[in-house]
């Protein structure tokens, strides 16, 4: 096994720095027994080999020397130039071979998603440090390799470069890992938060769900069905069924995904059964327990998997907004014993407006 790739099932705690946040999380979930589509990480070692083994580092440094970060046009031109430099190099032979081996091990020309997995995760909004690129429905080893390179190149969008400049991060110091993961044939997909994002209520799990792949939910292109599940009783206590006009589905022939109008009958129907809503909530709750803090989970129901085993987690990351706010909220004192009872009688809860 090379240092350049690492299957999710083998990612250990020591590997987290070189596989990035997303792959580390996928690795942890896989090993904790959570159903996660199989795949492997292309490590930061592979990225470093690309930089060092091809002369790319020198080319990037040379380009950066001529970049005026205060000038939008100059920055944009540099970004384009660097990305073109990425595309002009083949991957080092050992990296190329490692990816081909691991991809072949997943199956014959299996459709996969290729996603960047950034390493600068210690910043709350670090996702901008390395542009989070995702390529769906990639088929064939050549295409996988090309898209791994695209992910790397995406570190050098004008926006990502500008962000690193603003936050005094070295332009070449931020490394990137890439996740290559079996493509989910998503019937339905979405996001689950183990805290109510509107008010920080930790007794709630809030689920957004729509047809097809979850990207349209995440990007806000569709208004998803919204379910609120009471976390401890595991009961649906609120549901808002929306008009889900469009879905992202695979175009197998073109080896890509395509947006399609949802037919009239399905668009206003509840996209998950109640049992599926509860299954998603249980998955999110399990991930919260494993990670010991509220989570933001991407999930999907995979049409290729048998009923009851078709729910997969695609990503789980800590919820950061409320985690900080709740800690700051001072807790009011409470009366105990008989004084507590006097208080409860004098001001019963049902009387509060």
């Amino acid at each position: 096994m090379s240092a350049f790739t690492l299957p999710f099932s083998r990612i250990g705690t020591a590997d987290h720095a070189r596989v990035g946040g997303k792959c580390a999380s996928l690795g942890e979930m896989t090993q904790a027994g959570v159903a996660v589509p199989t795949g492997f990480a292309v490590t930061t070692d592979a990225y470093l080999a690309m930089l060092e083994g091809t002369g790319l580092r020198g080319e990037i440094e040379a380009q950066l020397e001529h970049t005026d970060f205060s000038d939008v046009t100059s920055l944009e031109r540099s970004a384009q130039a660097i990305q073109i430099r990425f595309r002009s190099h083949n991957l080092p032979a050992e990296v190329d071979a490692a990816i081909r081996t691991d991809y072949a091990a997943m199956g014959n020309d299996l459709p996969v998603a290729v996603r960047s997995s950034a390493t600068a995760e210690d910043l709350p909004d670090a996702s901008f440090a390395g542009q989070q690129d995702t390529y769906l429905w990639v088929v064939g080893a050549d295409a996988v390799i090309a898209h791994v390179r695209e992910c790397w190149a995406s570190l050098f969008t004008a926006r990502a470069m500008n962000y690193r400049e603003d936050h005094k991060l070295g332009q070449i110091d931020v490394l990137m890992s890439v996740a290559v993961q079996k493509m989910v044939n998503a019937q339905t997909a979405g996001v689950a938060m183990t805290i109510d994002p509107l008010n920080g209520d930790r007794t709630r799990i809030v689920i957004d769900a729509s047809y097809g792949l979850g990207e349209l939910v995440v990007s806000g292109i569709v208004t998803p069905d919204n379910f609120t599940v009471e976390k401890i009783l595991m009961e649906i206590i609120d549901r808002k069924i929306s008009d889900k006009h469009v879905e992202l589905i695979p175009d197998v022939a073109a080896a890509t995904t395509v947006e399609r109008e949802v037919d009239a009958e399905r668009r206003t129907a509840q996209c998950l059964t109640d049992a599926q809503v509860i299954a998603v909530a249980k998955l999110a709750k399990l991930l919260e327990r494993q990670n010991k803090c509220p989570q933001d989970v991407e999930w999907a129901f995979d049409a290729d998997l048998p009923d009851g085993e078709d729910l997969v987690a695609l990503q789980s990351r800590p919820e950061t907004v409320w985690a900080q706010k709740v800690a700051e909220t001072p807790k009011a004192g409470f009366a105990t014993g008989m004084m507590g009872m006097v208080g409860a009688l004098n001001n019963p809860i049902g009387s509060k407006k």
Partner: protein, 603 residues
């Protein structure tokens, strides 16, 4: 609602239905809205307690509301001095009872606190020993009532009495026994509330604490944390389940399946293992068949031990299910582990300081909560069962002596008139003349029966006058589930709406066919998998809970019987919908959401 048009009508504007004229004479003067007090009475908010008293009272039966509500009040007002709450005032109007909680002058609340802490505190600190004593007191009353017999007066005073120089006659015991029965049940109703108000207070404290910690926590989640004890209230049903299993094990099940109770028992008794089963049946009867299909508040309530066909009917259903391989026992272990899981998961979300307070309040709530369920068996079922049995025997005896043409005639008299009848009976027996009752009561009872039947043709108003801006009285909230929100449901809202809103009393969502049940006599109509819709349910309906998918009631809060039973049986329930039993028809397809309290009529 504007200032001049109250949300609910005034009692003074509510006319009696045709044929019920003169109903006022049937009830005591102190329970009526007196014309001279209109201005004062119209200022108060009154809600109808159809949860406990859904049908118009016969004069004798008003005793149940009088004793119950008086005794509830005495503990708040005079025993424990519950700081903000005195008792509940009540009136009978057009045959139904309306309640109005009496608050404490805000300036006096503070002075009551130290007294409450000392008095109620003593009970909380000594709960187990005091409760043990309670069981002894209640059982002693039951035993004393059981020992009392009402016998016809003999032709002559027994010779031994003459020879022993007793110097008294047989009317003495008759008069004293009647008075004693009333005294005993009056005492029993005091015991009923000795612990109940405190049980609610501790629960309310725990409840309020949880709502402060987790503002959106469902009421039912809080309730689930204190349940899961082996309640005596469900013991009668459990006994039937045990008997069903035993019958299958002993091979006598098929013999039990047909014929009257006597026939079935005779067939079983003749079988090899039959005697063993019959012995188990006899053993279960005492005390567990002291159990009513009603709620204990009516002289017409049917008790299992006097109507053995009722438990046998349930038993037969259970036998069929046992033979089909079903598990009929309540999942007690699952309930308890679920309770523990829920408790610990909420606690994990608390700060250490809050978790400590939580443990204290939960601990007390769990100590006191079993009483809230258990007392119902000992008072409403067992004590009241014995009381009604004895009262029916007295009524029957007087019927046989010619006082009234039907066995139940006595219940059309109030309890003081019955005293008069007993004197009339003994008086004429002594003088050697004729008792006057037989020429007075038959037509009077007929008249009263006509009035009560007419009253029953008109449903009560849910409430009278204007509710306060906010309901603050703690027992009103806990006992009757009356909050500012639930009152809004009573006003009906949009009539076209196919949705009904109530209290989310027990979790889960189901769809199914509705079965509207208005009286326990209809319980046998329920088919497997239906949804029970009723104005109100009683805990004794438990045996049908194995058949149904969910329950919807018009009346009741989170501690109402339907809510408690559904949580124990793991069925969804929506209570306090106001109008479900009239809006929903048997056969309607409905969706019951016990998580949100919404009931939808689908078709």
């Amino acid at each position: 609602m504007d200032a001049k048009t109250p949300m609910f009508p005034s009692a003074y504007d509510l006319k009696a239905p045709a044929g019920a004229e003169g109903w006022e004479e049937l009830y005591p003067y102190y329970l009526k809205f007196q014309p001279s007090l209109r201005e004062k009475e119209d200022q108060k908010f009154w809600f109808c307690d159809s949860q406990h008293w859904p049908n118009p009272f016969k004069p004798f039966d008003t005793m149940t509301v009088e004793f119950a509500v008086k005794c509830l009040g005495q503990y708040n007002t005079r025993h424990y001095l519950v700081p903000p709450a005195n008792g509940v005032d009540y009136r009978i109007h057009n045959g139904y009872v309306y309640m109005s909680p009496i608050g404490v002058d805000p300036e006096l609340i503070g002075d009551r606190v130290p007294q409450f802490m000392e008095r109620a505190g003593h009970y909380f600190q000594n709960w187990p020993t005091l409760l043990e004593n309670w069981h002894k007191k209640v059982k002693a009353n039951i035993d004393e009532m059981e020992a009392i017999e009402f016998e016809k007066l003999p032709d002559v005073v027994p010779l031994e009495w003459v020879k022993d120089g007793v110097g008294l006659d047989n009317t003495t015991a008759l008069t004293e026994n009647y008075d004693r029965m009333i005294q005993l049940i009056y005492r029993t109703w005091q015991y009923h509330f000795e612990f109940l108000n405190l049980g609610y207070a501790a629960y309310l404290d725990f409840f309020g604490f949880m709502k402060e910690q987790f503002p959106t926590i469902p009421d039912q989640a809080i309730a689930k944390m204190v349940q899961g004890h082996d309640s005596d209230l469900f013991r009668p049903d459990d006994e039937l389940k045990k008997l069903a299993r035993l019958a299958v094990e002993l091979g006598v099940a098929d013999a039990l399946k047909s014929g009257s109770v006597d026939e079935a028992l005779a067939v079983v008794g003749a079988q090899a293992n039959g005697a063993k089963w019959v012995a188990a049946w006899e053993e279960a009867k005492d005390p567990w068949f002291n159990y009513t299909t009603g709620n204990g508040f009516y002289s017409t309530d049917k008790y299992w031990n006097e109507n053995l066909d009722i438990p046998l009917g349930y038993l037969r259903d259970y036998i069929v299910r046992v033979q089909a391989g079903e598990t009929i026992e309540r999942p007690m272990d699952a309930l308890r582990s679920e309770r523990d899981r829920i408790t610990s998961e909420y606690q994990e979300m608390m700060t250490p300081e809050a978790a400590e307070a939580f443990q204290g309040k939960l601990g007390l709530a769990r100590v006191v909560y079993p009483y809230v369920e258990d007392h119902n068996f000992y008072i409403e079922h067992w004590s009241m069962g014995v009381f009604w049995k004895k009262m029916r025997s007295l009524s029957k005896m007087l019927h046989e002596e010619g006082f009234w043409p039907t066995e139940d005639g006595m219940f059309y008299l109030n309890r003081n008139e019955v005293r008069d009848v007993i004197f009339d009976y003994g008086n004429a027996w002594a003088t050697g003349g004729d008792w006057a009752g037989p020429t007075h009561w038959p037509q009077e009872i007929d008249r009263r029966r006509g009035i009560i039947d007419a009253l029953a043709t008109q449903a009560p108003q849910p409430a009278l006058n204007n509710p306060p801006e906010v309901i603050t009285e703690p027992f009103t909230i806990m006992l009757w589930g009356i909050t500012s929100d639930s009152i809004k449901n009573w006003t009906g809202g949009d009539d076209d709406n196919s949705d009904l809103n109530g209290m989310a009393a027990s979790p889960g969502v189901v769809e199914g066919l509705a079965r509207v049940i208005r009286s326990p006599d209809q319980l046998s109509e329920i088919q497997q998998g239906e949804i029970l819709v009723a104005p109100v349910t009683a805990p004794s309906w438990a045996p049908v809970f194995g058949k149904i998918q969910a329950t919807v009631t018009d009346i009741g809060g989170m501690m109402s019987h339907a809510a408690i039973v559904c949580r124990e049986y793991g069925l969804p329930a929506v209570t306090g919908t106001g109008t479900a039993s009239s809006k929903i028809k048997t056969g309607d397809r409905i969706r019951v959401d016990g998580n949100t309290g919404k009931v939808t009529i689908l078709s």
